[in-house]
Symmetry: D2
Subunit: 347 residues, 4 copies
């Protein structure tokens, strides 16, 4: 860490920074320069809280040389993590995992029909919302516990393990009872009590990047889960907020190679939310695989034009089948393959 002093900072201000660094248990190395002095902090173990230093008078800027996270970093664990879900399904490693299903569970018929469809065409994990975070209090909020039961039923019918979102601590316990992977949505990426509870559940966690979160912030949120001794975190790029209304979000695929370099955790991509427009999902699914994503999470609905939420970004069954065909080819082109259903039964 480097503490850069303002032009013309007083010698006492420099001395105060040195003293504070030493109080914090580190070593200080002042480097006087032509225009300003900088002070190196040596011995940083990755847990220095810089705000105390930033607050000192005469300090212009704090520069982080070491990453602020630890257990999620590739420096800490060089080999890539493979998250073991239930039923032999894995995320990370050489294979690409397809997670698919409706935005929300709406009825027994809808979830069973969708689950069979996506399984028959190559998905190995079922998604579906039981608790839906909605911008408006007047929008459909999900079936709740009944939705969880329908997901469990769909798993029983199809053998697909299930990922679904939890919105609060109580929700984590309930979701953990029924589902195989707990999803933390973009709006909750910095809901720290929720992250901790999800970590404590021991279940694998799918953590979506917040709409305006940097990669560093995403990794720090994952660090909350690992700090609870739960290594089974799957990161997810799902689009960030932009200025152009031509897509719902800006699908930031560069996040994939960036995360791969910084962290050992697997990362999947969600082109449904990333673009918000059905006609853009298939090309961007191909692009995500080509960029190196470890998986895709895709919204599919038997009748998107009758969906209760996110219908405009849900694929029609025929589009999903076409997408699977295309990503199998792209995966092969880059020396990977799309994961195939395991013969092992779930649970």
């Amino acid at each position: 860490m480097l503490i850069v002093m303002q032009h013309g900072a007083a010698p006492e201000e420099v001395a105060r920074v040195v003293e504070t660094i030493e109080e914090m248990g580190y070593q200080a190395r002042p480097m006087p320069g032509a225009q300003r002095t900088a002070i190196g902090l040596v011995g940083n173990d990755g847990r220095v809280d810089a705000t105390r230093l930033a607050a000192l008078t005469g300090v212009k800027e704090i520069i982080h040389v070491t990453q602020p996270y630890k257990q999620v970093s590739r420096e800490w664990k060089p080999e890539s993590t493979v998250v073991e879900v239930a039923g032999g399904v894995r995320v990370g490693g050489a294979e690409i995992t397809v997670i698919a299903g409706p935005c929300a569970v709406e009825s027994e018929q809808q979830i069973l029909e969708t689950a069979r469809l996506v399984r028959d065409h190559g998905a190995t994990l079922l998604r579906g919302g039981a608790f839906k975070p909605r911008t408006s209090p007047y929008a459909f909020q999900g079936l709740g516990k009944k939705g969880l039961k329908l997901l469990a039923l769909a798993r029983e019918e199809t053998g697909l393990p299930v990922v679904t979102e939890a919105l609060d601590a109580d929700g984590v316990d309930l979701v953990a009872e029924y589902a195989d992977v707990i999803q933390i949505g973009a709006r909750n990426m910095q809901n720290f009590p929720l992250l901790r509870r999800a970590g404590q559940s021991g279940k694998p966690v799918l953590l979506k990047r917040g709409i305006a979160a940097t990669i560093t912030e995403l990794l720090l949120s994952a660090e909350y889960i690992l700090a609870e001794d739960n290594q089974n975190v799957i990161l997810c790029e799902r689009g960030i907020r932009g200025f152009d209304p031509s897509t719902r979000n800006v699908f930031d695929l560069s996040a994939i190679p960036v995360v791969k370099e910084l962290s050992h955790l697997p990362i999947v991509a969600d082109p449904s939310h990333g673009t918000g427009r059905r006609s853009k999902v298939v090309p961007m699914a191909r692009a995500a695989v080509a960029a190196g994503a470890d998986g895709l999470i895709i919204e599919v609905h038997p009748q998107p034009d009758r969906a209760l939420s996110d219908g405009e970004q849900s694929l029609f069954p025929a589009q999903f089948i076409e997408m699977m065909r295309e990503i199998v080819a792209v995966a092969e082109a880059i020396g990977r393959k799309v994961a195939e259903p395991s013969p092992a039964p779930v649970r």
Copy 2:
């Protein structure tokens, strides 16, 4: 609401939209144009969930003519809301309320010293975090319940009612026991279970705008609280994420006149988070008052250079005193005045 069809949409696609609108209980008015057809939805009571329509094939775009929120809107309630806090303190109306205190409660001495300082120079509400949402799991997370007790002690000593943040549902109950206003932080603006619980508490709620939230989304989050029959919501502009590292956030002061036009709720401004740099807080506090803010929320610390969090944006006592002097003058220039402490005791 206007449903715009794609160029070349088939007549059956148009018919399907009309049919769906009617199924939803509204009237449809198709308007064929030279290049494309648009269909008006008539009878919108502000609660239409457009996603079903957006999902139909042939639909290019949904255009909202009516606002998606209801109870927060000025069309619903034309006169400005004045939120009654405890001890005669009010937010909204002709007077400008100053809320001040440290980022986090650190010790009895620190909170008492700060509370006396800010009261003596014109603040009428005390802020201070007991539960701190921190990006890194390794940063100081607040004193928790002990912090709440110290805030209550500071209220007893100074007569200032207290605003402090709750991070989850359990936290709401605890905070409601000790504090006068429950703060929902920017990271939790779309934590809907938290919004509902805060609404149910019956206490006034200070709702901060999320880092990438539109004004419409902010108002919809407030609508969650009003929908629980709690009208006492104070909105807060605290900066949005931008691309320029020269400030921590982009302090979006235009949000103030925008909110004033759309909603009857009071709005305060937080130049401490809005700029993230101590030297910018005073000019931007003046600017916020000039723009029409109903109040300010300001971080002050007896020794910012020893603060455990957000020290670089906390004012020194002398700066706070100077700020108060300046905003009193600006308030008068625009025909308002800074609220003065009430002689009435709290509780």
Copy 3:
């Protein structure tokens, strides 16, 4: 076009809008609603200047149903445009064109060495800056006319046609004399005199998206060129400004399917500027091809660590060779192929 009136707009305000629409030569269709009135403008030929209407009192919002551009749109010309460059090289159509070369022309040896390298491994167009727009007046600004001569020499040696940037009207004439494609850089996307002059040159134009330009604005800038009767426009996605310093820009690959749907013009992608980090260029080049780009524009340097500009985003020769191998495979996977050098000599 739909003109939405404010809640409570006076009948005279509505009448004034109707009158103005009729003055402008179009028909007005008022639609009174429960909450507010909207007025349809019928007969819009794509050239309506809405600002006159937006300025009327009582108007809340103007909603564009028709696109504001015309000749660039796929509604105007449904079949995709193939731009014919020199020497049989084409951009658009089934094949994917690779444009490669150094950020800036630095010396005869550097440009010849790079040109041979990129040609030998599959590029069919040579890029290289002679006039460099640089943020700082103290940075290397390019060799100017000498650079153009070196590019022409490299073309002679390798048979590769040349694309290079013009910064102003005089530059267009000079560049047109030496180069085969005139590049308009991101900073100049809305330099309208430059766009017009490039259009008048009759040469193909490579138009880069501005750092904060919407797709609509990009297409309107292209419309300036087509309005000069020059249909040979190649669009280019090169990254937009974002909030995360982990990449130089946000490489917005969704722009590719968005543009493909709205316009008949070809679009190429620039992962070098899009990411700004060498280690991210190869994965994002693969992703761009998978997303449907008609070509790539890639910075390569024989010794990036000695480059005078953009060295950190320039590929090493070995990386370029690897990239070509990978994108050939991805192109095949999606049923396209990377264009091969034409046996025909240039000029």
Copy 4:
């Protein structure tokens, strides 16, 4: 400048950085750390082109400690610059200068009427576009030279010096012939040939911040003008691109104290473009003055509802008069005053 090496960078990579720094004529100070090595570059005179270093293998990041600009910085010239326009009008210093007029010059009557109005109510500089940069080629592009002549006529009639925009090098010469201040618009902030030519003209230059420009980039663009030996630069904050359609731009008023700290140049604010909505202009004009702006640039039109461009953000005459009344009061509140017309004739 600090060059941070990657974790695990080889000793030869470190040696190569040291060698390159020395080749560039500076001193290198390697600082090996627990996790990675950083290398200080000493002797930086503010003109180091970091791209050569960033391109070296093993380099993770370049950290700028010294600002990349020189002549515009307050470290170079501590006292604030006051730009002398014609006729005794000044920008910078204790007084606040109001620049007002229509978006575009439309007719003799319109510009004379507006000029008299704004002069009579306290503006001391007249604005008005003769050459209009328009997103669409089909929008009104200004009267050109005829517009310049009308501006000169308005100056003759009212004594107000004139500021108007130049779009290219030829335009600079023409504008310099008729106007007193040359405006560089937001879209041209990085049109470097235009900046140079404006610098060479010797006339004061009003430089608007680009829609996605950082403050550092704005100052570097100003540096282009100062590097031509023209110190008379007036900076202008006019809003940056954001994600919320509730305003046209995000009016970034914090830029004012940020610029004041970094640079000696005066800065004015443009709430007309900053908000793009007439009803937001007056509160944000007050806020800009309170934030410390040295002036305002305001669009006024005798009949905004008949304006040929930007009508929705132009004030009605009565609103302008009200705004002047209000900002006079705010200026006094912060110990400044709004500049009054000079009795001296122009030219």
